[in-house]
């Protein structure tokens, strides 16, 4: 899941201030699940903006819509009638959703209301942690199901470093040392010797370093 957190109100207010009619768009996918941009957050943000502008003596017209998924053009198409009556669009989706809207409605300014943070998993109610960096070449099969790229602060491929203390990372005692986890897991699997296999220097072309990536499934795309 992609996780996000709402931007500070000050920043959001600065974006929408010049306008009178705002279309506030939520997304019912990842950002709903991480409670950053679903219907609930849309309503809360709308209410907060209303109040802020009422304080300024301004009546802000805010229309709330939450789409099933903001990163698909068909869903984004549903906004077509509402967009006309708005001066600007405020999106609570991740960056993918914001860009899909921006691409479709070129004549309207689009602002993000959340900061897209990471691809993560939920540890428990209200706690999400980074789990994947989308490197494009998954190594989880040899690291016991724990990703050193996403979860080691130094993304060491041959850890742990000398800062691993009592299972925690040297940068923060609340962060697990990924290599401790990998080691524990390999031990549990009876694969201790694997830790001595050198992971060769990674080819980062499959990652962001290779330029913006795209997947084309010929069978589906045609």
């Amino acid at each position: 899941m992609i996780t996000a957190v709402r931007k500070p109100m000050e920043e959001i207010i600065a974006c929408v201030e010049p306008y009178d009619r705002i279309l506030l768009v939520g997304c019912n996918e990842c950002v709903s699940v991480c409670s950053a941009g679903g219907r609930k957050e849309v309503a809360l943000l709308a209410s907060a903006l209303h109040m802020h502008f009422m304080k300024q003596g301004k009546t802000m017209d805010i229309r709330e819509i939450t789409l099933e998924r903001q990163c698909d053009p068909e869903y984004v198409e549903e906004l077509v009638t509402s967009v006309d009556g708005s001066d600007a669009i405020l999106s609570m989706a991740c960056g993918c959703g914001v860009q899909t809207i921006a691409a479709r409605y070129r004549e309207k300014p689009v602002f993000p209301a959340v900061n897209t943070t990471f691809m993560g998993a939920s540890e428990r109610q209200g706690v999400w942690s980074e789990r994947c960096q989308g490197c494009g070449d998954c190594v989880l099969g040899i690291t016991g199901g724990i990703c050193p790229i996403a979860r080691c602060s130094k993304r060491l491929m041959n850890g742990p470093c000398g800062g691993s203390t009592k299972g925690k990372c040297e940068i923060d005692a609340n962060v697990d040392c990924a290599w401790q986890l990998i080691w524990d897991r390999l031990k549990a699997l009876g694969l201790e010797r694997r830790i001595e296999d050198i992971m060769e220097a990674k080819d980062w072309r499959t990652s962001r370093d290779g330029g913006p990536r795209k997947i084309i499934r010929e069978d589906l795309a045609s």
Partner: protein
């Protein structure tokens, strides 16, 4: 099943304390008519006077209120306060009972509890009886049932004036004592007991020094609704005490003239509770000391409570029976003189307050009543029952529960009450649920698509509303609200006349929504909902606006403000009701079969009662034969023959046509919802798989005899458990007779890390075996090494007897456990005697270890996973509410009984088996289960399947269904709305409290204001 004459017979419950209420409710819910009488003006008994209850330290009012208001509403329950039994004739199944009701001078039906009479004539009116030292008009608790006043005729000097003061005409000046004769199939005695008045003792200053109070008085001092409004202050100077002492066993476990010999069973826990709450709620630095003889915390998880009191709260325990309490007249402080085991010299200590932990006493009135009922009392004045029929009195058809039977705490009372209800119910034909009660109402009008036509009816409740605001002007203003089709003032809205008038107005004006401006929906919603149904309208289309309790009563001196507020409140109500829509109450057809898991004493008893009531029972037992752990027990402390009892019980069960016994069987899967469960079982030596369908389940899987590898158990033949000794005495008395010296060690494998709780049964087992060994060989020297002797209730008699016969009791501390040394010729136990202050070495022919019970962890774990039931930390099943629902489990339709719940004796297990059978009948008595309408509902297409509802639900109800969205089973939803408020997709609504209804209230409040 016996066929019995069914001339509209009922069960008579005498005494309206928690036990009586529970028994009456159980009977009413299982479709038996019941008459609940109490000599007092309103029901509730002792519990409503407590501040908070252990072990949760919860506030009682919140937990008991549903019980009390429930009892006011039950159709089959006839509540008769101020009523006593005169005479009982006839026999079980056919008693004729004459009862006498004292005049109340107030018509309960008409009284609205407005308080007008009490306001004018405070001396003449009783709202609540009791020990409360405040004015008699005070409300002891807000949920008083019946919700009405009563008149103290002796004090009234002018009945006419009183009559004029009551605007509803509820005063009956010529009210007379009434006598009537009831046709009764069975009777439950639950009159409870009094608490000992320590004023008769001369050494503790009770009733003499102001700062010496009883435990109950102390509860009142702590209580938010007590005389000091929750400010703990000592009586002499209203200052908060800094040092408080409790003295245990005041008037109990004694041999002096004023003492009773038995143990009152509850005082240790309540003293601990009071000490904890004192520190927790008032000030951590208040010093709390408890002077005690034995700390008897042998209930479920009570030992943990004791540990918490000592370790977390720093409650100071002093093992000593103090000699005296003397007051320093200057300061009002109290000096306690006492001596301890390790130091016989008298010590003194000064306290600001002393609390006397007084126990139960049977009042003389109960002895009289017993005479009229024709039942035997034991030597202590409690109802005599037999070992294997714990709630049956000496007279067939008359049952007993609660403290009338023996001293006990609230959960045990609740268990026994349900048991008594079940047994009393067996005397009465179980009526088939024909749904007749439902059919009194006309068919519901379909209001969908209709624009709201709201009718507003405003009560004046006499002066209660009418004197503060001008109702007619209010109504005038309401008429202008959008959506209001009709508005009218209706005087006393809840009077019969007004209700009739409203009904016809609703019909006449084609109203499809109603707002009542009157009193609290907590007390009157049901009444007006019924009115709606009479009009053919869904009961959820009415909104009650609480103008009386929350406006005119509290703004009496500001009529203009009160009027403005009433307008706003009504406007909120009108807006909200306009958004209301008809709701369906969920109901399910009830499967009438019962699954009983576990074929021990508990399971067999539950199965037999339910089979006797006509239900099909599947009794699943893991072993090849029935009987469970009790097969290893030969006799009880009271001397009953357990072996014969089990054999007879098993024969009865096996012969019963309606009970299908499945031995060598285990449960392998389970699905369904309350009332419609399907459980998979593998049965027989070949593990044949079968599925059974059942409506309720009773878990009676028992516990295991503990055999920890301590003190050479299992290594040396001379070392054995109490169970082993029990068998040896019965099977090989000669070898026991030849013993010259025997040692018993208590708390082996209990009350220690790993198994911190008390096993409850070991002290009585030890006493039982010691007495039987003495019986075989009076010269035998028996030493019992113990930590606390926990012979609660009447077991104290046997403990005293054992001491009398020369059994020696030596206390040890867990830090200095006894040690055992053995060689071929000699077995010796070395123990440090805390009293003598030195070590003793005792050689023994037998070392008997009191090893108690441990949870059958594997079984309870498997079943808890399969049935989604919680367990306690030590592996016993966890009941739904440790205080008030000790037999019900958190999943509706599941009940727990016997040692699967907690360690307990055979007798206690039988009681809970009966209780479980009784509780099961409250569901089985109905063909349909009404699940209410206030449940959370998911809009699937909005759901993001985020799992938040799944995680926040306190009852683990929501789940993600096969279609990939959250689903909430209305049968299991409790209707709290937590998932609704946390849903990030706003995909869930709580029926009856939907978002647009709440927002509409805000609109109603603010719309015309801005």
């Amino acid at each position: 099943m016996n066929t019995r004459e069914t001339d509209k017979q009922s069960v008579l419950v005498i005494g309206g304390g928690v036990g009586g209420i529970r028994a009456a409710l159980d009977l009413a819910e299982s479709r038996r008519d019941v008459v609940l009488i109490d000599k007092s003006y309103s029901i509730g008994g002792l519990m409503t006077r407590l501040d908070r209850t252990f072990p949760t330290n919860n506030c009682d009012l919140c937990t008991i209120s549903p019980h009390l208001s429930e009892s006011g509403r039950q159709l089959r329950l006839d509540l008769k306060p101020m009523t006593v039994v005169e005479q009982v004739e006839g026999q079980a199944g056919d008693f004729r009972v004459t009862i006498r009701t004292l005049p109340r001078y107030i018509d309960v039906e008409k009284c609205t509890a407005c308080g007008e009479c009490a306001e004018k004539f405070p001396d003449w009116i009783r709202f609540t009886p009791g020990l409360d030292p405040r004015a008699p008009t005070c409300m002891r608790y807000p949920q008083a049932t019946p919700y009405a006043f009563s008149v103290d005729a002796d004090k009234v000097t002018d009945f006419d004036a009183l009559q004029k003061a009551c605007k509803v005409g509820a005063i009956i000046t010529d009210d007379k004592e009434k006598t009537e004769t009831l046709s009764v199939a069975s009777i439950i005695l639950s009159t409870g007991a009094e608490l000992f008045d320590p004023a008769v003792l001369d050494n503790f200053g009770g009733g003499q020094f102001p700062n010496v109070v009883t435990g109950l008085e102390y509860e009142r001092l702590m209580s938010a609704s007590g005389p000091t409004l929750g400010q703990l202050a000592r009586p002499s100077d209203n200052k908060r005490p800094a040092r408080v002492a409790w003295i245990q066993c005041v008037g109990s476990r004694g041999i002096n003239r004023q003492d009773v010999p038995y143990c009152s069973s509850v005082c240790c826990m309540y003293a601990l509770k009071e000490a904890i709450v004192t520190k927790e709620r008032f000030a951590e630095d208040i010093e709390a000391s408890i002077f005690y003889m034995d700390m008897r915390t042998c209930g479920k998880d009570y030992e943990l409570y004791l540990n918490r009191a000592v370790n977390e709260y720093g409650v100071n325990l002093v093992r000593s029976r103090p000699h005296s309490v003397v007051e320093d007249p200057e300061t009002g402080n109290l000096v306690i003189t006492y001596a301890t085991d390790d130091d016989e010299r008298h010590k003194t200590e000064v306290f600001d307050m002393v609390v006397l932990s007084t126990g139960f006493r049977i009042p003389a009135s109960t002895r009289e009543l017993a005479g009229r009922l024709g039942i035997d009392l034991n030597e202590h004045g409690y109802a005599q029952t037999s070992g294997f029929s714990p709630v049956a009195t000496s007279r067939p058809g008359i049952y007993v529960c609660g403290v009338s039977e023996s001293p006990k705490d609230i959960p045990e009372t609740m268990i026994q009450a349900s048991a008594a209800a079940a047994m009393a119910g067996t005397q009465l034909h179980l009526e088939q649920d024909t749904g007749a009660e439902e059919e009194d109402f006309p068919p519901e009008i379909d209001v969908s698509g209709q624009d709201p036509r709201v009718g507003v009816f405003v009560c004046d409740c006499g002066p209660n509303i009418g004197d503060v605001i001008t109702v007619s002007a209010l109504v005038e203003e309401v008429r202008s609200f959008p959506g209001v089709a009709y508005a009218e003032a209706v005087g006393y809205g809840c009077s019969k006349e007004s209700m009739d008038k409203m009904e016809s107005l609703i019909r006449e004006h084609g109203l499809n929504r109603v707002v009542i401006g009157g009193c609290s929906p907590r007390t009157h919603e049901t009444k007006f909902q019924d009115m709606m149904r009479c009009c053919g309208l869904n009961k959820y289309l009415v909104e009650i606006v609480n103008i009386r309790d929350q406006d005119t009563w509290v703004h009496t001196d500001r009529p203009a403000d009160a009027t403005r507020k009433a307008v706003k409140m009504l406007e909120m109500g009108v807006h909200a009701v306009a958004r209301a829509h008809p709701l369906m109450e969920h109901s399910l057809p009830m499967n009438q079969n019962v699954l009983v898991v576990g074929g021990g004493v508990t399971g067999m008893n539950a199965a037999l009662i339910l089979s006797d009531q006509g239900f099909r029972v599947y009794l699943v037992e893991r072993e090849a034969r029935l009987g469970g752990i009790a097969r290893n027990i030969r006799a009880t402390l009271e001397g009953d023959d357990v072996g014969r009892y089990i054999t007879e019980l098993a024969e009865k069960v096996t012969a019963d046509q309606r009970i299908q016994v499945l031995t060598q069987s285990i449960i392998v899967d389970h699905k369904g919802m309350p009332g419609r469960f399907t459980t998979g079982i593998q049965t027989g030596p070949r593990m044949h798989y079968m599925q059974i369908e059942h409506g309720v389940s009773i878990l009676a899987t028992g516990a295991l005899a503990n055999r920890p590898g301590q003190y050479l158990l299992g290594e040396d033949d001379r070392v054995m458990t109490q169970l082993d000794m029990d068998a040896k005495i019965a099977d090989d008395p000669e070898s026991v007779r030849s013993m010259e010296q025997a040692v018993m060690i208590q708390c082996v494998g209990s009350r220690e890390p790993g198994n911190p709780n008390c096993s409850r049964i070991c002290c009585q087992s030890a006493i039982k075996n010691a007495l039987r060994m003495k019986n075989l060989n009076p010269d035998m020297q028996i030493y019992v090494l113990y930590r606390d002797m926990r012979t609660y209730g009447f077991q104290e008699d046997y403990y005293r007897e054992a001491r009398k016969q020369g059994v020696k009791f030596i206390r040890y501390e867990p830090e200095r456990r006894p040690e055992v040394r053995a060689d071929k010729d000699d077995l010796a136990v070395c123990v440090y005697d805390e009293v003598l202050g030195r070590s003793l070495e005792i050689s023994a022919d037998a070392l008997v270890l009191s090893t108690g019970l441990i949870a059958d962890d594997e079984t309870t774990e498997d079943l808890s996973v399969m049935f989604h039931l919680p367990r306690s930390d030590d592996g016993y099943f966890l009941e739904d509410h440790v205080k008030l629902r000790p037999t019900d489990m958190s999943v509706r339709g599941f009940f727990v009984a016997g040692t699967a719940h907690a360690p307990k004796s055979i007798r206690e297990s039988i009681t809970q088996a009966q209780a479980a059978a009784g509780r099961a009948q409250t569901l089985l008595a109905k063909q349909w289960i009404n699940l209410g309408a206030s449940v959370a509902k998911v809009e699937g297409d909005k759901c993001a399947a985020c799992l938040i509802c799944v995680r926040v639900c306190p009852y683990n109800v929501p789940y993600i269904n096969a279609e990939g969205y959250s689903e909430i089973d209305p049968a299991r939803c409790h209707g709290c709305g937590t998932c609704v408020a946390d849903c990030p997709a706003r995909a869930i609504q709580l029926m009856q409290y939907e978002d647009d209804q709440i927002l509409a209230k805000l609109d109603g409040l603010f719309e015309r204001m801005n």
